[in-house]
């Protein structure tokens, strides 16, 4: 059984993420640990020290605990393997990084609402938490059914980290998985959207098929067989539309992704939950 940390605030994004994590338990054998980090506004200082300060902190924690308990209790019936919520005061990224490192969680689940232009997603991906998290992260944007997973492969460097992360989380084949090799369309080149049938290799997709076969072999070692295999070349907008029916998209990102990265643009457009691992 893997252990997953789910970060909660008293807001809509967390409510969605929490419910998604509960749904995910049908497909992943996991124990879910809710955590809430109560951030003190930057620039404002805690009052005094000693008893005054500890009373102030207790007050903050109590309010936060009550808010998060409301959210958790509403979903508890659908979430059997749920641990008592950890509530901490501190800086958000630092507190979560500390918790993940200390208790060696296998996964972090966090909610981020889809925003037009993807500002929230961009900010999140470039945060300290995402750059330094030792565990993979699922960003939940919408409450969808995580029964169909797409694994997005762009180059050979994606295959091992992504497939091994996927296999670690999904130890038994309860969901269905599709392998998708994608490339961004360059101007003047045609779009491609081909479903690979059996072992047929479409002309011009030889490298993509080779990479997909490596991924297939890795999956097969653990008893997984992809339902469908695709080769796609198109704009970020079109690829994201194609991916919108999936309940979870696995993708690799470099630790320091550039803000103008097409991959970042693609992931910010995808409305489903995204499983991110580092390469």
């Amino acid at each position: 059984m893997i252990s997953a940390l789910v970060s909660l605030n008293a807001d809509l994004a967390s409510s969605i993420a929490f419910r998604y994590a509960c749904r995910l338990m049908e497909y992943i054998d996991m124990r879910l640990q809710p955590i809430h980090v109560e951030e003190v506004d930057k620039g404002s200082f805690p009052p005094g020290s000693g008893w005054v300060r500890s009373t102030w902190e207790k007050g903050l924690l109590q309010t936060a605990e009550e808010e998060i308990a409301q959210l958790v209790n509403a979903e508890k019936a659908d979430c059997p393997s749920l641990d008592a919520t950890i509530v901490e005061i501190g800086e958000y990224d630092e507190a979560l990084l500390h918790e993940i490192e200390e208790k060696s969680y296998d996964l972090l689940v966090e909610g981020v609402l889809t925003s037009f232009h993807g500002q929230l997603f961009h900010r999140k991906i470039r945060s300290r938490l995402y750059r330094f998290s030792p565990s993979p992260i699922i960003i939940v944007k919408n409450l969808v059914q995580p029964d169909r997973v797409a694994v997005l492969l762009k180059d050979a460097l994606d295959v091992t980290p992504l497939i091994s992360t996927f296999l670690k989380l999904f130890s038994t084949p309860k969901a269905s998985v599709d392998l998708i090799h994608f490339a961004f369309k360059e101007s003047g080149k045609p779009e491609i959207k081909e479903k690979i049938q059996d072992d047929a290799v479409p002309v011009g997709s030889e490298n993509a098929c080779k990479l997909l076969n490596t991924a297939k072999d890795l999956l097969a070692e653990k008893g997984w067989r992809p339902k469908e295999t695709w080769v796609i070349r198109d704009t970020a907008e079109k690829i994201s539309e194609f991916l919108s029916d999936y309940g979870l998209i696995g993708a690799c990102l470099p630790r320091n992704v550039h803000k103008d990265s097409l991959m970042l643009d693609l992931l910010s457009r995808i409305p489903s939950a995204t499983l991110l691992c580092k390469k």
Partner: protein, 297 residues
């Protein structure tokens, strides 16, 4: 539920009638088909004045009966709640300038009225909706000609802007694949939620609920409302997507997402959508976009 379908003799009206038939099949709403004869057409005016029954040859009246046939043909005869025992297709003046089919579905389980009014189309449609306390006005429009009506280019826009109830401008240009609903306040009526629910199921469409944000954040009460709406639809087997759009980007968002086929705007009396989406912008959306527009009030 009372639905008023404003029609003329053009194909876009036939499309609107068919949309209402689909909606009525799910809701068993009382439906009125309304045609408006222009007062400026002296020939029609004199015909109406002389003998309402003599209107049978008027193209609009003919169209109204064709639309009624289109509406009824959507239902299997035995299951149709609008079928009446019949009678002459005759219009009678029920009050000055307002005509109604004499036997209009008296014996049916649900009403299917046929009404004719004379005057300015936009004004008459609004008066009819007010007098009959309609919950929804539906009208089609010619999307190739800036969503106008043959009798008045601004009819659909006037109705959309000034109606006291919800309005659906049904365009035939696009299949509805996704319904995009914009929300900026926490006073969403149960009826409008149900309306969206109906639209989702009858089009087999997906649903996006858009929370309008100011300064990159949603108001706490809007977040709570979105959460409630999300739960409401989940209980009905619908998994809507949630998206947050800053009011400053609303124009570009609407331009992008109109491609999905139906744009719904929850416009309450105190809604900031009324500020972010004033008449001029709503006009532009109705006029230029291929998408159908549903204004929920």
């Amino acid at each position: 539920m009372k639905i008023l379908v404003a029609v003329d003799q053009n194909p876009y009206s036939a499309h609107a009638v068919l949309e209402v038939a689909k909606l009525a099949a799910n809701t068993w709403a009382n439906v009125s088909l309304l045609g408006v004869l222009s007062k400026t057409d002296t020939k029609e005016r004199s015909a109406v004045a002389e003998a309402p029954s003599g209107l049978a040859d008027n193209p609009l009246i003919k169209a109204l009966f064709v639309h009624r046939g289109t509406f009824l043909s959507y239902f299997k005869q035995k299951e149709c709640p609008y079928t009446s025992k019949g009678g002459p297709d005759e219009l009678a003046e029920i009050r000055k300038g307002v005509y109604q089919l004499v036997h209009a579905s008296k014996s049916a389980k649900k009403k299917l009225n046929i009404r004719v009014r004379t005057g300015n189309p936009g004004r008459e449609i609004l008066s009819e909706a007010k007098e009959e306390e309609s919950d929804l006005i539906v009208l089609g429009c010619d999307h190739m000609k800036g969503c106008g009506w043959e009798s008045g280019a601004t009819v659909p826009r006037k109705v959309a802007n000034d109606a006291p109830c919800s309005v659906l401008i049904a365009k035939a240009a696009k299949d509805v694949k996704r319904i995009v609903c914009c929300l900026d306040h926490d006073r969403v009526s149960q009826a409008s939620l149900e309306m969206i629910n109906q639209m989702v199921s009858l089009h087999g469409a997906q649903l996006t609920i858009v929370g309008l944000a100011e300064n990159q954040g949603l108001k706490a009460e809007v977040e709570r409302k979105l959460d409630n709406i999300l739960r409401y639809y989940h209980e009905r087997g619908i998994d809507p997507w949630i998206e947050m759009v800053d009011i400053a980007f609303l124009d570009s968002f609407v331009a992008r997402d109109a491609r999905w086929g139906l744009m719904a705007l929850w416009m309450g009396k105190q809604s900031i959508l009324e500020k972010a989406f004033p008449k001029s912008k709503l006009d532009k959306l109705i006029k230029r976009s291929d998408a159908s527009v549903l204004i929920l009030r």
